[in-house]
């Protein structure tokens, strides 16, 4: 995979987000005003579907299950969040929003590995 068209720029109004499918991979696109962000559709905490549990306002995405929050402009965790949001690289070409989707980004909710090399347990 490579750069993929996810949606038309006009499909996601400023300060909102929407879910799309690209070759069977679900991606949320958020319009942060001066650009777009693309990320997997589930909360990294407990896999809550963010189109239902998520609120996007003023650059900050909140999952209302436990109020984990992320600054979508920078990707940083905010407040109570303990895990980063994975993001796809995004660019705009004309009226299209493209994401670099090499493989589906997904969180390891049910970690298999040893504690040492386990992303889930490696802290922030």
């Amino acid at each position: 995979m490579s750069w993929k068209r996810v949606c038309a720029a006009g499909e996601v109004a400023e300060n909102t987000f929407r879910k799309f499918e690209v070759d069977g991979i679900a991606v949320i696109v958020a319009n942060v005003g001066d650009g777009y962000r693309a990320f997997p559709p589930l909360c990294p905490h407990m896999a809550e579907p963010l189109v239902e549990s998520g609120i996007y306002e003023d650059g900050v995405l909140t999952c209302t299950k436990h109020l984990w929050q992320w600054n979508l402009r920078t990707g940083d965790m905010v407040g109570l969040a303990e895990r980063k949001l994975l993001m796809y690289e995004v660019k705009r070409e004309g009226d299209d929003v493209l994401a670099y989707i090499e493989r589906e980004l997904a969180y390891e909710y049910h970690e298999e590995d040893e504690l040492d090399d386990d992303d889930f347990f490696s802290g922030d």
């Binding site: 109020l67 984990w68 905010v78 303990e82 347990f121």
Partner: protein
Amino acid sequence: MKVTIQSKSGELSFECEVGENLLYAGLRNGLSLPYECATGTCGTCRARVMEGEPEIGWSEAPGLSYVKQEKREVLMCQATAQGDCTLRVPAKVADGGGRGVAPEYGTGTIARVEKLTHDVMVFAVDLDTPMRFDAGQFVVVETGAVPGGRAYSMINYEDGAAVLEFVVKQKPDGRFSDWLFGDDRTGETVRIFGPLGRATFHPEEGKNVLCIGGGSGIAGIMSILAKAAGEGYFSDRRGYVFFGVRTAEDTFFMDELSAHAAAAPDNLEVVVALSDEDVPPALERKYSALTFATGLVHTVAAERMAGRWDDLIAYVAGPPPMVDGALRMLIIEARLPGTDIRYDKFG
């Protein structure tokens, strides 16, 4: 028996009785294990069994939708220890250092049951040993008559309470509420585990207080008001209470709320929102210290709080759709940071 917890912040262990609930055992030993409802619904206390054979418990717990049982994941609040075991918990877990006292087991006797509306009751439990708790906390109540525990927020507040008071809403197929409503239950023994919950009020934080409660969700708010009143908190801080019910017939605690409002007329506003009918003038006349409005409680709160969001902590409790509506309002309209919003999610 020994239970070992592997967490994001390292490995901890604690002693546990055979057959004891793993979450409760960890919490009473002072570990900050993740949980919210403590009764099988929310999924927050999920863990993976690495060693040992804990028993799974309630096989239809709604919270199991968050775990992969084929990968030996469990809800700690439902699992019981049968021997030494090791669990992996996807969170940071500390040993001690949390706010408030560690929960413990207790017993008590139902001392009073009183119907407040057609489907809401208050019941009081005389504890065999007094309990310290923070305003806004809850306990898990169990009776031998009905399997499983139920989480109820205390409505009273004392530092070292000998009596705990709770509100129960009768729900279709609510086995505990059916039991409680079904006959005279005074004198029955109940088991208690608590205190639990982090949606707590701490006067030393010094902030204005916004409480949004729907139906029996007013319970913990009553405890916060009791604590605040005891400290004269609203002599120099502002308080805003929004209590939502469907109709005038569903209102309760009107006298208690009136007394709180009357005691701090300059700084405490109590608004009762009726979602399903216009406000009967007789109700307004009867409770002149309260303000009444028509609408969903979080919508009413958003309208009346406009421009007054500064320097406050918000407490939210009620049925899941109301909690969700209130959270959205607090984040989108009030722009409150998540750290200033407190609630325990039961759904």
